[in-house]
Amino acid sequence: MPIFTQPHQVNMEELNNLASYLGVSSGKLVLDAKEQIPVLKAGNGLTVRGLVSVAKQLVRQSETPELKGTTAEERAAIDQWLEYRVVQVDRSLQEKDVSSVLRDTNAYLSHHVYFVGYQPTLADIILYLGLYRIFEDLTFMEKQKYVHVCRWFSNMQSLFANKMSKKHIAFQRNKIFSGTGH
C-alpha cells in the first residue's frame, strides 16, 4: 500500500493536470507554505486561493467555461460537489476511511450518469482526480462492490486520462465476485 503523499502536493499536481487538459497555462501556480493551499496568480493582478477556486478560474480561462455550469442550478450543484470533494473525499484519505465516500457516490451514481446534468462537468473532473487516489488502491473485489462509481470512473478515464497524463486503472467484471445480484 503506497503511503499517501501530502494532500497539498497532490492538489498542485491535479491542478496542473487540469490546466493541461483545458489547454490553458497554469501560469503562476504556487503553494502557499503557511496555509498549505494552492494559489494561482492569474493575470491582471487576480490572486485565487484554494483548490476549488483555482480550478474554477482555470475553467473560466479556458475555451470551455461551461464546464463549471451554465444555469444557476447547475453551478450550484457543481459547487456542492466540489465542496464534497474537498471536505469529504480528501478528509477520508487522511482518515484512511474511504468506504463512506465510495458508498455515497455509488448510491448517487446508480441513477445518474454524470454528477451534474447530462454531460461531464468540472464536478466530474475534480471528483475523478480526487477519487483517483482511492481507486489506485482498491482491489478488483472492492471495485466490484461499487459498480456504479466504477462505471462512472471508467467513463471518466476514457475521456480524461490521456489528456491529464494519468494512467488507466483497470476494471474487470468478474462473475465469481458478484454478490450484488445483477
Binding site: 450543484a77 460537489w81 447530462y118 466504477c150 462505471r151
Partner: protein, 212 residues
C-alpha cells in the same frame, strides 16, 4: 449478440445487466447505438432495473434521434417524473425539472437538438480498424493471403494500407487497415469472411478500433 425482445421483461433484464458497468451502449459517449436501442423500448424500464432506468433517463434527454416536436405533453411527463423522483431521493440533486425556466430552457435545447439532428444525414459514422490476420505457418504465401482478404467486398467497407509484421519463428502476420461504416459492417461479419479462407488464415484479431 442482441438483447432479445426489449419490449419484454427478459430483454430489459439483459439490457440492465449489460448497462451495470457501462454508461452507454457502445463506447463512452452517446452514439447511434443508444438511439437505436432506445427506440426499441416501449417506455421507461421499471425502477427495479436501475441501470436500464438510469440509461433510459439519460438518453431520453441527450440522445434521441426521433423528431422531438412529435413528443407531446405525455412524453415530457416521463423525464419530469424521473427528475421528481431524484429530487425526493437525493437532496444534492438541484437539477429538478419543476420550474418554468428549466422547462423553457429544456424545450429550447430539445428544439435545437432536433434541428441539428435533422441536418445530420450527411454525417455517416465511420470507424477505422486495424486487423491482424494470422497464417498457419511461415510457408503460407502472404501475398495470396492479402489478395484473398482484399477480395472481400461489401457496401461500406474500404480496405487501406497493409504491412507484414513478423511474430517470431519466421511467421509473419498481415496487418491491414480498413475503414467501415458502423451501420453497415460489423466486426463479426469481417471475422467470418476472413476466416473463410481456411487455407491461408489461421485466425484474425482486431488490433485497433477507432471511431472517426
Amino acid at each position: 449478440m442482441g438483447f432479445g425482445d426489449l419490449k419484454k421483461k427478459e430483454g430489459l433484464s439483459v439490457l440492465n445487466a449489460y448497462l451495470a458497468d457501462k454508461s452507454y451502449i457502445e463506447g463512452f459517449q452517446p452514439s447511434q447505438a443508444d438511439a437505436v436501442v432506445f427506440d426499441a423500448l416501449s417506455g421507461p424500464p421499471s425502477a427495479d432495473l436501475e441501470n436500464a432506468l438510469r440509461w433510459y433517463n439519460h438518453i431520453n434527454f441527450t440522445g434521441r434521434k426521433k423528431d422531438l416536436s412529435a413528443y407531446g405533453p405525455a412524453g415530457s411527463g416521463a423525464p419530469a417524473a424521473g427528475g421528481d423522483d431524484d429530487d425526493d431521493d437525493d437532496d444534492i440533486d438541484l437539477f429538478g425539472s419543476d420550474d418554468e425556466d428549466a422547462k423553457a430552457e429544456r424545450e429550447r435545447r430539445l428544439a435545437e437538438y432536433a434541428a441539428k439532428k435533422a441536418k445530420k444525414p450527411a454525417l455517416i459514422a465511420k470507424s477505422s480498424l486495424l486487423l491482424d490476420v494470422k497464417p498457419w505457418d511461415d510457408e503460407t504465401d502472404m501475398a495470396e493471403l492479402e489478395k484473398c482478404v482484399r477480395t472481400i467486398e461489401a457496401d461500406g467497407l474500404l480496405w487501406g494500407a497493409s504491412k507484414l509484421v513478423p511474430v517470431g519463428y519466421g511467421i509473419r502476420k498481415l496487418q491491414i487497415n480498413a475503414v467501415i461504416e458502423d451501420d453497415k459492417i460489423s466486426t463479426d461479419f469481417l471475422e467470418d469472411e476472413i476466416t473463410k479462407f481456411e487455407d491461408y488464415v489461421q485466425s484474425m484479431d482486431i488490433a485497433a478500433f477507432n471511431k472517426i
